[in-house]
């Protein structure tokens, strides 16, 4: 298991870093999420390799990469949901475990059983459980907060529906509302745009822009290369390791996309289209 406060970073780091700089690179204190030398392996096969990442504050960050690139694992390892082989994660300058309350997570929609006997409102209220505390029932105040969050994502009228009675887009909005109600500063979202209707996509984009305007940061795993430039001002291109990260205009280039997708790029029609657009821009 990882120990976020440990100073040694595994053999690679200590071999490279000279003695006068024992802690390796410093975490930037304000970065919403700062990952250092993170490696994750599954059954001895690496899934993520030596990830170094400092996210800028007040930004919308798209994580782009082919299937199996470890995008979900990046988020999950950062939140200690999967064990790390090595690496340190800091959230706004503190180890993740000490700053959990500033992070909200929107998992993939398929990660839960939608036949579970709860309403949309129940699910959103779960976002308040930390604030409510152990063994204390959900009070009216928190239910109201949940209702407001549902209103913000535009489905307040569906609050009392059992969750399998919601469409895919409405389920995604429910998850988003559950994150909003946590009132966090950093939002980690695993493919919120996957298989949603156009209206939901628009609603999510609006919420993302609002979050940014409120000084918050969102890291969003995204698949549609066409919309990257419209939605995100910062991108992380990855394929098991970080290929490039930086402002969209500087990093979202044909060259980097080719490095990220490798030979698969030609197979993806939309990737080709995105490249064409990138070329047209430059």
């Amino acid at each position: 298991m990882s120990n976020p406060t440990a100073l040694q970073n595994g053999p690679r780091q200590s071999a490279v870093s000279p003695a006068h700089h024992p802690a390796g690179k410093e975490h930037s204190p304000d970065a919403p999420l700062s990952i250092h030398d993170m490696t994750v392996a599954y059954h001895r096969k690496p899934v993520l390799w030596d990830v170094d990442l400092d996210l800028p504050e007040r930004s919308l960050i798209g994580v782009i990469g082919p299937n199996g690139a470890g995008k979900s694992t990046l988020i999950k390892a950062a939140m200690d949901l999967v064990p790390k082989a090595s690496g340190r994660v800091r959230v706004y300058g503190l180890p993740y475990r000490k700053n959990r309350k500033r992070v909200a997570y929107v998992p993939q929609r398929e990660s839960v059983d939608w036949d579970f006997p709860v309403t949309a409102l129940d699910v959103v209220a779960m976002g308040r459980y930390r604030r409510i505390g152990w063994c204390v029932p959900v009070t009216k105040k928190h239910r109201e907060a949940a209702r407001e969050a549902l209103d913000r994502v535009g489905i307040a009228d569906l609050a009392d529906r059992q969750i399998s009675q919601l469409s895919g887009g409405q389920q995604q909005r429910t998850f988003l509302a559950r994150a909003l109600v946590q009132d966090a500063d950093l939002y980690l979202m695993d493919e919120p745009f996957a298989a949603v209707d156009a209206a939901t996509e628009k609603a999510i984009v609006k919420i993302l822009k609002d979050l940014k305007a409120d000084g918050k940061t969102a890291l969003v795993i995204h698949h549609d290369l066409q919309s990257v430039e419209d939605y995100f001002d910062y991108v992380v291109l990855m394929n098991m390791r970080i290929i490039a990260h930086g402002p969209t205009s500087a990093v979202f280039t044909e060259d980097n996309l080719r490095k990220t997708y490798g030979g698969k790029l030609t197979l993806l029609a939309d990737a080709a289209e995105a490249m064409r657009r990138v070329q047209a821009r430059s």
Binding site: D80, M126, W134, R178
Partner: protein, 446 residues
């Protein structure tokens, strides 16, 4: 049946039912979370695997006092859950296989130990396996001046502990069952909840042995919650219903154990077995009658939907006949529909009766004619149909003579909004691909 019930003894039978209810509700309460976590078999595994824990406790203390028994059960219960995790992780096999390995092995060890222990400790393997519910009222203790069966006291305490557990950790159980990852990011330790639950399942299983035996524990653990799950989509109601179903199973089980066999001329049968049968019976009822997932409601929904579609087809047919009619003769001889629509006469009678009843069609001297309302409805159906034909021809590669069948299916599920969208996508056509007019949108009168 009445005769055999006349032998009902309020002390004996009353307590047998009482013990049954305590046992069934204590189990069912926890079972809800096993069912919702899709871990029903874990209940089975733990209830079998606690056997060696019990046996070791007997062998060490040579007594049947409760405390070592429950301690042994709790330890082995948690070990079962742990071993299952480990074997799944190391052996790379699925959870079912790893559970199968763990609990059968532990169960077998337990059996061997118990048979050995039985030689010199007052412990009966049969009692552990099948329970001895009928004898529970005979072994009593005194509580606050009342003479109460010992098992009832144990089960009562376990039931109270389970109620307290679910009441106190309701929110935590809910979130860690629904979304364990979210629970973890919330600082709610889903793993801890898991092992707490498993410990209580083990303890409850041990307390239930004398009542239903460990082979049937899983029946009261899983079947009532599974039945309740069919009946509602609210967690709190599901829990309440599961308790009611568990209690009714216990009552029904004992009554039918006394009365049932007598009907067929046998002696009485074991109450524990009949409780499991009663729970199974209630489950089948729930599967049939469940409001949303139930077989009957699905059937009714299906039949009423196909009825609506067939009736709409008749309406549209009447409209098309009107379109073709020359002069004033717009009504139709009902029997002509049979040939035109390939309808069996009784089915046509049913559909026409339905349409007349709904005021969409009138009978005029043995002939059928659309009412104004019926014509509006029919016109919109035909409009949707012809818009779909236009749309499909334009945007798909279907051949012109194939679009009719697709449009025929689509027209029934096309509401106002979709129709407007279709109209916009096809540039508001007036003529369909087959040259027939597309009627304008009519707002239907009710």
């Amino acid at each position: 049946m009445i005769e055999s019930l006349q032998s009902w003894d309020w002390y004996l039978d009353g307590w047998i039912v009482g013990v049954g209810i305590l046992c069934a509700t204590a189990c069912a309460l926890l079972g809800n979370f096993l069912v919702l976590r899709k871990m029903s078999m874990m209940g089975d595994a733990i209830s079998h695997a606690v056997l060696p824990g019990l046996a070791v406790a007997f062998l060490l203390t040579e007594s049947r006092t409760s405390v070592p028994m429950f301690l042994g059960a709790a330890i082995v219960g948690v070990l079962t859950a742990l071993f299952t995790e480990w074997i799944r992780g190391f052996g790379k096999v699925d959870e079912g296989a790893s559970m199968g390995v763990v609990f059968t092995t532990l169960f077998a060890i337990g059996l061997v130990l118990i048979v050995r222990a039985a030689d010199y400790v007052d412990l009966d393997p049969g009692c552990v396996l099948y329970g001895a519910m009928e004898f529970t009222p005979l072994d009593t203790v005194e509580v606050a001046g009342f003479v109460v069966p010992r098992v009832a006291v144990t089960l009562g305490v376990v039931l109270l502990v389970n109620i307290a557990f679910v009441a106190i950790f309701y929110k935590e159980l809910k979130i860690s069952s629904f979304d364990p990852e979210l629970a973890t990011t919330m600082g709610i330790n889903a793993g801890l909840m898991h092992y707490l639950l498993m410990t209580l399942v083990a303890v409850t299983a041990v307390a239930s042995f004398e009542a239903v035996g460990n082979i049937l524990v899983v029946a009261v653990l899983i079947v009532p919650p599974a039945a309740a799950y069919m009946l509602t989509d609210r967690l709190s109601i599901m829990i309440a219903l599961s308790l009611v179903i568990a209690a009714v199973s216990a009552l029904l089980g004992h009554v039918s154990a006394i009365a049932g066999p007598a009907l067929f001329g046998y002696g009485s049968v074991g109450t524990a077995g009949m409780i499991a049968v009663a729970a199974g019976f209630l489950f089948v009822l729930a599967v049939l009658l469940g409001p949303r997932h139930g077989v009957i409601s699905k059937l009714v929904h299906h039949v009423s939907l196909s009825m609506r579609i067939a009736a709409e087809d008749v309406l549209a047919m009447l409209y098309r006949i009107e379109e073709l009619a020359v002069g004033e003769q717009r009504s139709v001889v009902p029997a002509h529909l049979d040939a035109a629509m390939q309808l069996a006469t009784p089915r046509r009678r049913l559909l026409v009766g339905h349409l007349v009843h709904r005021g969409l069609v009138d009978r005029e001297g043995g002939r059928l004619i659309l009412t104004d309302r019926g014509r509006d409805r029919a016109r919109n159906l035909v409009r949707s149909h012809r818009l779909w034909e236009t749309y499909l021809l334009r945007y798909t590669r279907l051949r012109p003579d194939h679009v009719h069948f697709s449009a025929e299916r689509l027209e029934h599920s096309t509401d106002h909004e979709l129709q407007a969208a279709l109209n916009a996508h096809t540039d508001s056509p007036h003529i369909d691909p087959h040259g027939r007019p597309i009627p304008p949108r009519i707002s239907e009168r009710d």
